[in-house]
């Protein structure tokens, strides 16, 4: 299976679920910004969740299918099309060699993921195939994809992927009637947050504003972080914070009172006070926020955040069983 990039689009990189084991050495986790969509795309082709896939931002990219493909795409940044006809997302797609696929902008979100049976083949570095652009390593030669790059899949396919391929193999585009429903994870404009350690460093009015007023996603966001515009947070405790650990989902308050939401490629430590931590389940919505989107923050407890996390993992486990059943039993 192979594709050749025709147009790379805006920042297209190879990612997986990242390298969480190296944060102690100040290596950001990296990996897919929207880990849920990435996992759904992999599941749809029978891959383990951590297989390498391609992360696209918005529409505009296109690629040529050099050899027959078993792929799936997920996410909300683009709709994959062939000759102007939409391909369905969240289900396995058999695409014969010679097809050109173009990504049409989807105004619902910003990022899409393309999985291939076996996973895209790139060198594993520090236990991950994710691109870390600032460090210049990982993914496809440590850089974003460019026109003419040739990507092929890993040789070892899972038994489930082989079975899906057998079911769908054809001389034309073919896919099953069902798709994975991601309605449990619908994009909302409410982002649930847990108060972070420096929450009470801010005055009451600021905290009330944080939890009631609308905020707007700034266009300067990238894989490291997303600035969020809105009421400025003012401090009642003006101590200097000694640099300490931060993580994806941490909302820092900069010197002038603005919010910055840290994402996949963010530094591992920081010295800005942390006002809140986005619930892990809502990082999907954050990764998909388009510039100028209006959002609201809602406070939940750390126990609730953990509960939501475990609930989602349980649903995803059930999904694995469902997909396996559809293709292994028939």
């Amino acid at each position: 299976m192979a594709i050749r990039i025709i147009r790379a689009g805006v920042l297209t990189t190879v990612q997986d679920l990242g390298r969480p084991m190296f944060r102690g050495q100040a290596v950001p986790t990296s990996g897919a910004m929207d880990q849920l969509s990435a996992r759904l795309a992999n599941k749809a082709v029978g891959n383990p969740d951590g297989s390498a896939l391609i992360e696209f931002n918005y529409g505009g990219a296109s690629f040529f299918v050099e050899c027959d493909l078993l792929i799936a795409y997920s996410g909300y940044g683009a709709i994959f099309t062939v000759n102007g006809v939409d391909l369905p997302c969240n289900r396995p797609l058999f695409i014969p060699a010679g097809t050109s696929i173009t990504l049409k902008e989807n105004l619902q979100g910003s990022r899409s993921y393309l999985a291939v049976a076996g996973g895209w083949k790139v060198t594993e570095i520090m236990g991950s195939r994710s691109t870390y652009l600032s460090g210049g390593f990982g993914g496809f030669e440590g850089r974003a994809l460019e026109a003419n790059d040739l990507l092929i899949n890993e040789a070892g396919m899972s038994p489930l992927s082989k079975s899906i391929l057998e079911h769908l193999k054809s001389s034309e585009i073919n896919f099953p009637k069902w798709s994975i429903s991601d309605s449990r994870f619908v994009l909302k404009n409410e982002v649930r947050v847990v108060p972070a350690q420096e929450f009470l460093w801010f005055d009451a009015i600021s905290i009330i504003s944080l939890l009631t007023k609308p905020f707007v996603v700034n266009a300067q966001g990238n894989r490291m972080g997303i600035p969020i515009d809105g009421p400025l947070m003012s401090r009642r405790k003006t101590d200097e914070l000694l640099s300490t650990a931060v993580t994806m989902g941490t909302i820092q308050v900069t010197g002038n009172g603005n919010l910055v939401l840290l994402m996949a490629d963010a530094q591992t430590t920081g010295g800005y006070p942390r006002i809140a931590q986005v619930a892990s389940v809502d990082l999907v919505a954050c990764a998909q926020m388009r510039p100028n989107k209006e959002i609201f923050f809602k406070e939940i407890s750390s126990d609730e955040a953990e509960e939501l996390y475990l609930e989602r993992e349980m649903h995803l486990k059930q999904l694995d069983a469902t997909i396996a059943y559809k293709f292994m039993i028939e």
Partner: protein
């Protein structure tokens, strides 16, 4: 906020960082005793990890512990949430920690070629501090430094211990790219660039050692808790060491 912190009578404070991490607070400011406790606790934890343990991030007064929530929930540790289970384990380990007295600190010597093409700002540092270039090199290479934490970019060590007579403000205009291995001063801090990145530190030399190398099992050369000394070497020795390491000259 009380719900976010562990309710025990131990002398550490544990708080929720995310569904996959907690932070342990050992003190309020940068000092030798806190530094030592964090180093010891970190060593103890990494030698005795709980099921689901991933990694730790050491900082000035905190140690953050990253884990897999699913594996932790499956463990038999006491508690009904992942946070409670981890807190229980860390509190227990902290009680044990008092039985361990000293930790063998890694002592590391890093060769630096000062001045010339490798240290374009050596003279500026000397002039700013009313010292000679030789005095700057002597002061910089005779101190003993402690690595408080690794942060900022992969493999970057926040080190304490620089002689304050060397303190120099950052350059007014940052450089577009500072070569990996460059040793710089910014205010009262000294540090080494592990990667070639833009930066505004005053550069006084360069080491042939790769502070961050993705080909090593442990890519970061330094780790929190290390004791570091710098050794002045000449340009010839710099190239010899570069050749020893990777078989080609490093420009």
């Amino acid at each position: 906020m009380i719900s976010l912190q562990s309710a025990t009578n131990s002398d550490i404070l544990i708080y929720f960082l995310s569904e996959e991490a907690v932070s342990v607070v050992f003190g309020q400011d940068i000092n030798e005793a806190t530094f030592k406790r964090i180093s010891e606790f970190n060593a103890l934890l990494t030698c005795n990890p709980f099921i689901g343990f991933r990694t730790t991030v050491v900082a000035y007064t905190t140690l953050s512990v990253f884990y897999s929530p699913i594996e932790v929930m499956q463990s038999v540790l006491p508690g009904s949430t992942g946070f409670e289970k981890i807190s229980a384990y860390l509190d227990l380990l902290n009680a044990e920690a008092t039985k361990y007295y000293s930790l063998k600190q890694r002592r590391i010597e890093i060769p630096i070629c000062y001045g010339g093409i490798f240290g374009p700002d050596l003279q500026e540092i000397a002039t700013f501090n009313r010292l000679s270039a030789e005095e700057v090199i002597h002061l910089h290479s005779s101190a003993v430094y402690k690595v408080y934490m690794i942060g900022f970019v992969p493999g970057f060590a926040y080190m304490g211990g620089m002689d304050e007579r060397l303190a120099t403000p950052r350059k007014a205009q940052p450089r577009q790219a500072v070569h990996a291995g460059s040793v710089g001063i910014a205010g009262k801090q000294t540090g080494i660039y592990p990667l070639s990145i833009p930066g505004g530190w005053q550069i006084l030399g360069r080491t042939p050692i790769h502070l961050f190398d993705i080909n090593r099992m442990r890519p970061s050369f330094l780790e929190a808790g290390d004791e570091v000394r710098f050794k002045a070497i000449d340009e010839q020795r710099y190239y010899e060491l570069s050749n020893l390491k990777d078989g080609h000259q490093d420009h």
